[in-house]
């Protein structure tokens, strides 16, 4: 109880720190951009690409968060996302864009239901069930596409295009104004303006929904009695049970929502990131979503920040002639790590601080030694970043205490 009582002030302090760190990060980015003269680092176009690449990862990450907060590891996100791509394509083709979004939610939730039945009712190992869902999802989508899309106009056994997608909006005055400011390449101001222009130009309503779901998730899980009970199932289901919480029901709800979020991520891929369906188009984004959840420390804003970072890496890897830009990002990463190392060192974790500082110096040496990074590296950037961050930040991470553990009704005795 004392923990709960002290929570608000701790949260406030944490927010304060986050704000300062975010500001420091923006200043660093702008400094590096000016110093390396890589203006493409923060153009509205690049940031728009990053946002679009980030949203499917974000939705999968939030889905993972819901399940894990209730104690269920949902590694089946990839499969549920795949089901979502099919649901979006099928329902949007026949009934319009927003029915497509609903269809994706439904298909994702169906995958979630499968996972819930296996792990909650039958106590199957979460990883095994999740992997099974990924494999089954791929097979099911292949079968469904072949059955329903082969004879459609614009379709084939593995593809479908030509369905309605959610509207894109451009905020007239702000978009053009911010774009103009961003083109002046002023220190700091232009970078912020680029971000503003990036999110006010041809912004899909689905993007707004995805970002809004971060706030909704945070509010529901941390500000409502329902959320408290749900999280208690992930921390200590036995204790929750003794307090009269129907643990099974909460776990079911959480995993269904988890699947629906992943399905929405699939819809995003098939409707905003592109406007066509092809089987297997998630390309591992469900797994990256899981990584963004871990990197985001099982916390909605953390998931948002990390998925934006992964999305940025993803977007940059697709730019033409991106060697010099990735080279500049090395310097940025090195500086950020140096800052992180300093924080650690001052905070008393001297060994970690020194190790991180060493890595930062190594990156700096790499930066100084070469002029450009080979394109092979840019493709693997998101994956290297994940590994790297997991290795460095693992001490700070705290997952829900009972996540991944099997729970049987009546265990509390």
């Amino acid at each position: 109880m004392t923990i709960l009582a002290s929570a608000p002030s701790a949260i406030r302090q944490y927010r304060h720190l986050t704000l300062v760190l975010a500001l420091a990060a923006i200043v660093t980015v702008s400094l590096v951009r000016v110093f390396t003269d890589q203006s493409r680092m923060t153009t509205p176009g690049t940031l728009r690409l990053a946002l679009i690449a980030a949203c499917p990862i974000l939705l999968a990450g939030l889905g993972g968060l819901w399940a894990e907060r209730a104690g269920i590891v949902n590694i089946g996100l990839e499969g549920q996302m795949l089901l979502g791509t099919w649901g979006a394509a099928f329902f949007a083709y026949h009934f319009g864009a927003w029915v497509g979004v609903l269809g994706a939610l439904l298909m994702g939730a169906l995958g979630g239901l499968l996972h819930a039945v296996a792990t909650i009712t039958f106590g199957v190992d979460h990883i095994i069930s999740g992997v099974a869902i990924n494999i089954a999802g791929l097979g099911a989508v292949g079968y469904l596409a072949q059955t329903f899309f082969t004879d459609l106009d614009g379709g084939g056994p593995r593809n479908l295009s030509g369905y309605a997608v959610p509207t894109e909006v451009t905020i007239p005055g702000i978009s053009d104004g911010a774009r103009w400011v961003s083109e002046q390449r002023w220190f700091l101001i232009s970078d912020v303006a680029a971000a503003v222009a990036g999110v006010t130009t041809r912004l899909s309503l689905l993007t707004i929904l995805a970002v809004a779901l971060v706030a909704v998730t945070a509010w529901v899980l941390w500000r409502t009695p329902f959320g408290l009970r749900l999280r208690s199932c992930g921390e200590n289901p036995q204790a929750a049970e003794t307090l009269g919480v129907n643990v099974y029901r909460y776990k079911y709800i959480a995993v269904l929502i988890s699947g629906a979020f992943a399905g929405l991520g699939g819809a995003y891929l098939a409707m905003v990131a592109s406007s066509s369906f092809t089987t297997g188009q998630t390309n591992g984004r469900g797994y990256i979503g899981l990584a963004s959840m871990i990197f985001g420390n099982w916390n909605p804003t953390g998931v948002l920040a990390s998925s934006l970072m992964f999305g940025y890496a993803d977007g940059v890897s697709l730019l033409s002639d991106n060697g010099p830009l990735v080279h500049a990002l090395l310097l940025l990463l090195s500086l950020i790590l140096l800052g992180y190392a300093a924080l650690k060192y001052v905070g008393g974790e001297r060994v970690t601080g020194l190790v991180v500082a060493l890595i930062a110096v190594a990156l700096l040496v790499w930066y100084l030694a070469v002029d450009s990074v080979p394109s092979d590296f840019t493709g693997m950037t998101p994956y290297v970043l994940t590994l790297f961050v997991l290795a460095v930040a693992s001490q700070r991470l705290r997952m829900p205490a009972a996540s991944g553990k099997s729970y049987r009704r009546g265990q509390a005795g």
Binding site: T46, P56, G142, N159, T279, L318, N322, D376
Partner: protein, 358 residues
């Protein structure tokens, strides 16, 4: 991954060896490949039964695989044989492809077409066990140079020549003096498209800049990722490109989405993609680099039906009408078409040699 890189390298080597030989697809027996061993004509048993095994992307990609299907369909209507199709999944292993081919052969299919270079190795393994089945691999190569399989035909194309022509169109059409290229996977085969395209642009106007990017470095999923295609194209548009040529299979649909939203131009690949695009996209598809996979597939099936299936390498060039460009939608102006035709003639006459490497 490693296997794929090696395969790509081999494909390149094969393509180079091939162009050096200068074999034409429809050579009338005059320019026999000197390296080829004496091969008996493959005798298929009974009525021809044709199987088509697709590549990643699959039928409905509105591009490569659909073109193969068009050739297959045309042959089927004409000759009325029994046929079947097999779909590939996005990250299947060599064994799965091999199983698919063996499955077809076991079911009595005696004319089997592997669509895409990925089938080269599996066909090489399977073909010796079924000497009375005629195999073909589109874009294929013989991975083991030592022993030749007499019942395998490798149907390849001079993609660089076709890409040169659409490069000419792009350079004529651009207003920003920047044109873009999106490749699915950064391998030797796709680099051929980029090289030809860049050479065509250069020939018309050396001041036009070509910006290019690849969706994946080695992973074949680059051909089935429309989101990646759209993001790559938007990146090029941000760089100032106003005409974008793609060689990215099913990912190309994303490229069309990007140019449609930005009200710019795209150039399709393999099939005439104007015909399969959605009505919103159509006004933005300037032309398509045609790789007549349909012609190659049809020719091969026809040769098998006629009792003398093609074998060894067949290169379909501009001179053979194995590659080309489309004019559907009448978006290319008459002047541009005239310029393209001029360059086309120069390539056919051998006055212009189109590079294969960027």
């Amino acid at each position: 991954m490693r296997r794929l890189t090696r395969a790509a390298a081999l494909a390149g080597a094969a393509a180079l060896a091939l162009s050096a030989c200068g074999t034409a697809a429809d050579n009338d027996g005059d320019g026999e490949d000197t390296n080829a061993q004496e091969c008996e004509v493959t005798q298929i048993e009974g009525d021809p039964k044709v199987a088509l095994a697709y590549d990643v992307g699959g039928r409905g990609d509105q591009s490569f695989n659909d073109a193969a299907y068009a050739g297959f369909e045309q042959a089927q209507t004409e000759f009325g044989f029994e046929g079947t199709e097999g779909e590939a999944s996005s990250d299947e292993s060599e064994e799965v492809r091999e199983q698919r081919l063996r499955g077809f052969a076991g079911d009595g299919y005696n004319v089997i077409v592997g669509v895409g270079f990925a089938y080269s190795e599996s066909v090489d393994k399977v073909a010796p066990d079924y000497p009375n089945v005629a195999f073909a691999v589109i874009d294929g190569f013989d991975p083991t140079e030592d022993e030749q399989n007499c019942n395998v035909a490798y149907l390849t194309f001079a993609e660089n020549e076709g890409s040169f022509l659409v490069g000419v169109a792009a350079a004529e059409q651009t207003e920003s003096n920047t044109v873009g290229f999106v490749g699915g996977v950064n391998n030797t085969l796709i680099q051929k498209f980029e090289a030809g395209f860049a050479a065509g642009v250069e020939a018309v106007n050396p001041d036009v800049e070509v910006v290019s990017t690849y969706i994946e470095e080695t992973d074949p999923r680059g051909f089935g990722d429309p989101a990646g295609g759209q993001a790559a194209a938007e990146g090029l548009i941000n760089d100032g490109a106003d005409v974008i040529f793609h060689a990215a299979g099913a990912s190309g649909i994303g490229v069309f989405d990007a140019v449609t939203s930005a009200d710019l131009w795209a150039i399709g690949v393999d099939s005439d993609q104007y015909l399969t695009a959605s009505p919103e996209q159509q006004p933005h598809i300037l032309t398509s680099m045609l790789k007549r996979v349909d012609v190659a597939t049809y020719d091969f099936i026809k040769s098998a039906v006629d009792g003398e299936p093609l074998s060894s390498y067949s290169l379909f060039t501009l001179a053979d009408e194995g590659v080309g460009y489309s004019t559907s939608g009448d978006l290319l102006s008459e002047e541009i078409i005239a310029t393209i035709e001029d360059y086309e003639q120069q390539i056919i006459d051998g006055e212009i040699e189109v590079p294969e490497q960027p």
